[in-house]
């Protein structure tokens, strides 16, 4: 038979580059930051990285099997997502949180929208923000060298530049998420990507540049430009990781060159607004996610002019061509202005909502406290702050390791005489982590009543502690120590345990007892 050959449409040659190859390059570029993160934060960080990667790959595989799609885990994109997510987690978060984040990134953000290339926001950052909103406490608690500390940016916001060690920030020996701390490691990876032409330098440079200019102008307008302040802002809070690795994500950044410039500048502006006017010291993650949403609009206004567009008009009628060009420019200008306005409004809104609500929230908290005081000390006319700085030592000596007296006030009657005290006690041995209660105690040692300021126990079980029948068991009793029993309270100092919630009962009882013991130390001292 006559020999036949393969046929296909032209072109018949292809570049060597593949999607898998690009993903592999990103993974290689992230290695310095990952290895440093593990060195900096220890084995748990390594464990989190592996957990995120493995669970992202498994979720991707699972989704594709379930949705009857082609399984494409070999393209390594899920590994990149997992790695980026891990690098954006606090090294202290529990493993289940890493798995939950991976599920959100892959299932919700990526696969439900159609898989690779279809997601409208960066999966890893989407998951990070989801976790930040859901578990703010754990996501923003950073332990470093065994001590829970604030990140440099939080320090900067609270205490100014004096609290900053720039060299540590550059090296990365600071608290933060696993991958964001070391500027030098991230830069090495970023430069690798730019040299290998995996990413264009436009977005990172525009992002960091715009941000630096805005911070400089802001600091110059607020008591003089301070290079340390600028450098701390550039090195801190995941800006470098975000600029080089997350903002440059192909899928969620503009495909057009002009779009890349606008996108980078927007990110700089947003991060500036979030950091300076917003509540938290961070802002990179939210900026990128917000800008991701604007990408379709940015692309629409930055569509390139095709080769020779309008050239035929130029020849036919010069004036007409000119006017059509002007209209073109005008509509682009309007769209760019719209994007800028949206960004500014959103940035300022987020910032100002925090500012506006800061006062009322503080006032509401104060009112809640006052109310709690009143609830547990009905007879008092006014409350006066009482210095309880010695409480920690007293409780420690008395053996209440899990309880902290947060605040103490002296209750006064109408003549200004102290008639008793109210303590805010936090117990860390509750079923749901911690609880906070207010307890009133009269000068003769009688417990006046208790009330919860925060209680997040199991509904139907631990939450029953907030019922009057339980709380009233403490009221009007003068005892040395409360005990709980499951067999029916007989003595004055016995409390009926909540059925099915012994741990909660124990925590509450201990909290009250710690208050009594601190009261004794006050009265003992006074006598």
């Amino acid at each position: 038979m006559e020999q036949t050959f393969k046929i296909s449409s032209s072109p018949h040659v292809r570049d060597d580059g593949t999607t898998t190859g690009l993903m592999a390059d990103v993974i290689i570029a992230l290695m310095p930051a990952t290895i440093f993160g593990i060195y900096n934060f220890g084995y748990h960080a390594l464990f989190l990285v592996l957990t995120c990667i493995v669970s992202c790959v498994l979720f991707e595989w699972g989704c594709q099997v379930l949705f009857k799609r082609k399984v494409t885990v070999k393209d390594c994109s899920a590994i990149v997502t997992g790695l980026l997510l891990a690098l954006n987690l606090s090294p202290d978060v529990p493993v289940w949180m890493a798995i939950l984040g991976s599920a959100f990134a892959i299932v919700i953000v990526k696969q439900l929208f159609g898989g690779l290339g279809q997601n409208f926001m960066n999966p890893a950052l989407g998951a990070r923000c989801f976790l930040l909103i859901s578990f703010a406490g754990q996501m923003t608690s950073f332990t470093y060298d065994g001590v829970t500390t604030a990140t440099p940016l939080a320090e900067l916001k609270a205490n100014g530049v004096s609290a900053i060690n720039l060299l540590d920030m550059f090296k990365g020996t600071i608290p933060g998420t696993i991958g964001e701390t070391s500027v030098i490691c991230i830069l090495v990876g970023g430069i690798y990507l730019i040299v290998k032409r995996v990413i264009s330098p436009i977005i990172p440079l525009m992002y960091i540049g715009t941000f630096a200019v805005l911070i400089s102008v802001y600091s110059a307008a607020n008591g003089g430009f301070d290079p340390t302040y600028l450098a701390a802002h550039l090195c801190g809070g995941g800006l470098m990781l975000g600029a080089f690795f997350m903002a440059t994500d192909y899928v969620t950044s503009p495909i057009t060159k002009g779009g890349k410039y606008i996108f980078g500048a927007l990110l700089g502006l947003l991060t500036f607004l979030f950091r300076i006017f917003g509540g938290s010291a961070e802002g990179v993650s939210y900026s990128i996610i917000f800008a991701n949403l604007l990408v379709p609009l940015i692309e629409k206004v930055t569509m390139p002019k095709s080769f020779g567009q309008g050239a035929e008009l130029l020849k036919a009628e010069g004036s007409q061509a000119g006017s059509s060009k002007r209209v073109d420019k005008k509509s682009i200008a309007i769209a760019v202005a719209a994007i800028l306005i949206i960004t500014c409004v959103a940035g300022f809104a987020l910032g100002y909502v925090y500012d506006i609500t800061k006062e009322p929230i503080a006032q509401a908290e104060q009112n809640a406290k006052e109310e709690a005081y009143k609830a547990v000390f009905n007879g008092a006319d006014s409350f006066e702050e009482y210095d309880c700085s010695d409480a920690a030592d007293v409780l420690k000596a008395a053996g209440f390791d899990s309880d902290v007296i947060d605040e103490a006030v002296a209750a006064k009657d109408s003549s200004g005489e102290t008639v008793g005290y109210v303590f805010l006690v936090t117990s860390n041995e509750a079923y749901g982590g911690s609880l906070q209660l207010a307890m009133g105690i009269t000068t003769d040692g009688t417990v006046n009543g208790i009330s919860f300021l925060s209680l997040s126990e199991t509904a139907g079980l631990g939450m029953e502690a907030d019922k009057d029948t339980f709380k009233e068991q403490f009221a009007g009793k003068k005892v040395d120590e409360f005990k709980y029993t499951k067999s029916g309270a007989a003595a004055d100092n016995e409390i009926d345990a909540l059925s099915g919630a012994t741990i909660t009962t124990n925590a509450v009882t201990n909290a009250v007892n710690s208050g009594i013991s601190y009261f004794k130390s006050i009265e003992g001292g006074n006598n």
Binding site: I7, S8, T18, A311
Partner: protein, 441 residues
């Protein structure tokens, strides 16, 4: 003078070393020759011979049917065997004249066609070019005399000879330039003299130093012809990009090059013009590069049109014993057509037969677009291929047109560079074809 270029483009593996230094060897066909009546853009030619007629090499056997059409000449002597549809490189059967080769290669006496150039009017020259059946030999096959008859004759200020040869593997234009530079220069002068205000440019990529040096030397006293050095980059030889690189002028899909005062001709076309006007020879042969990693002795052959392609492979030593080709391409790897059989005739527009042992297209499976933007940065037409392909797939013609889909020149850069291996060019080209077809209705 700096090297000229355009924004965008790619750098595929050149593959020209295989045949760059192989001098052109004439190959005379052994078997029958087949002449498809449609080797050019425009109406198919009409046969003027019938079965059983004896014809000579250089004899006209089919006549142009209208303004945009071209004559066809026999390239050998022999007898008309049959006129019937035959398979061509386009993959479909085209009505063709088949001539049984008598092996004598008896030729028409060209000397009787010769005329003194000085005595000719411009329209006489155009007529000679038309008679000789000369078409654009870069592949598209646009009748050369039509190009040289623009409406705005006075506004033509550049005749550009496309010596870029940006397609990988091809070396036929290069060999022409260094072996017959005088013919090229004289051919260009003939074209320039058709216009009052025209100047000539020979534009060559900088990977062809020899040709640039040689032509510069030969034209150093000629103030009407300049040799421009272009950066080696694909698609430097695409008509619109070539005009931009050389003159800074833009031509879009709504225009002809003449609207920008330019006429672009391929190297081989200009040489054919010279041979027609000065030597009286019609277009019956051209240089074909037979190359690729499956070919035993890659070479440049001077081939009579109508020669069976299987013969050309044999003339190049055949395939390597251990390497049967997976794919054979008529033309270059970027814009050439894949052939499923070699039993087709060579035509006026056939620049090469490229035989590859590995097909890179079927090696990869297309995957999702990751929006990396590589297609946007390489596109010489400055459109957004990924977006156009999406509209094409969705059948959204309005959006396709609104995003300048018609400005695509199907050069193949986007498909080449795509890391997801998507068939962007194919998808876009399909929709363009559909739109053009519906416009004609």
């Amino acid at each position: 003078m700096g090297k000229l270029t355009f924004p965008g483009g790619i750098h595929p593996n050149e593959g020209k070393k295989l045949t760059m230094d192989k001098p052109v060897v004439e190959y005379l066909p052994k078997g029958d020759c087949v002449y498809p009546l449609s080797q050019h853009i425009g109406a198919p030619a009409v046969p003027i011979v019938k079965k059983g007629d004896r014809v000579l090499a250089g004899q006209k056997i089919a006549e142009a049917a209208g303004f945009v059409s071209a004559n066809i000449h026999a390239s050998i002597s022999g007898t008309v065997k049959v006129i019937e549809p035959r398979m061509t490189s386009s993959g479909s059967k085209v009505n063709s004249i088949v001539i049984e080769n008598d092996g004598l290669f008896e030729s028409v006496d060209y000397s009787q066609n010769k005329m003194e150039l000085e005595t000719l009017y411009r329209d006489d020259v155009r007529n000679i070019i038309k008679e000789a059946g000369i078409v654009g030999m870069g592949g598209a096959g646009f009748p050369a005399n039509v190009k040289l008859t623009p409406k705005n004759e006075d506004e033509i200020d550049y005749i550009i000879v496309n010596g870029a040869e940006c397609e990988p593997y091809l070396t036929s234009d290069y060999r022409r330039m260094i072996e017959e530079p005088e013919k090229l220069i004289h051919g260009l002068e003939i074209c320039i003299n058709l216009f009052d205000n025209a100047k000539g440019i020979i534009a060559i990529e900088d990977n062809k130093h020899e040709a640039i040096k040689l032509l510069r030397e030969l034209t150093k006293d000629n103030d009407k012809i300049t040799i421009n050095e272009l950066k080696t980059k694909y698609p430097q030889g695409a008509e619109r990009q070539l005009i931009y690189a050389n003159t800074g002028r833009y031509v879009n899909s709504k225009m002809l090059p003449a609207d920008a005062g330019c006429i672009v001709h391929n190297v081989d076309t200009v040489v054919a013009i010279y041979e027609a006007v000065v030597e009286g020879k019609p277009l019956i042969s051209r240089i074909v590069t037979v190359t690729g990693d499956a070919i035993k002795e890659p070479c440049n052959l001077l081939v009579r049109t109508g020669t069976n392609c299987q013969e050309l492979i044999e003339a190049a030593g055949g395939f390597k014993d251990d390497k049967m080709p997976e794919k054979i391409i008529a033309g270059g790897p970027m814009m050439g057509k894949a052939l499923y059989t070699l039993d087709i005739p060579s035509v006026k527009g056939l620049s090469a037969l490229l035989c590859m042992t590995h097909d890179e297209v079927t090696k990869y499976e297309p995957s999702n677009c990751i929006r990396c933007g590589r297609c946007v940065s390489v596109c010489p037409g400055r459109v957004v291929p990924s977006l156009l392909a999406k509209y094409a797939e969705h059948g959204n013609i309005d959006a396709f047109l609104a995003n300048h889909g018609m400005e695509c020149c199907e050069c193949g850069c986007c498909s080449y560079i795509c890391p997801a291996k998507r068939h962007l060019t194919q998808t876009i080209a399909g929709t363009r074809k559909q739109i053009l077809a519906s416009k004609k209705k």
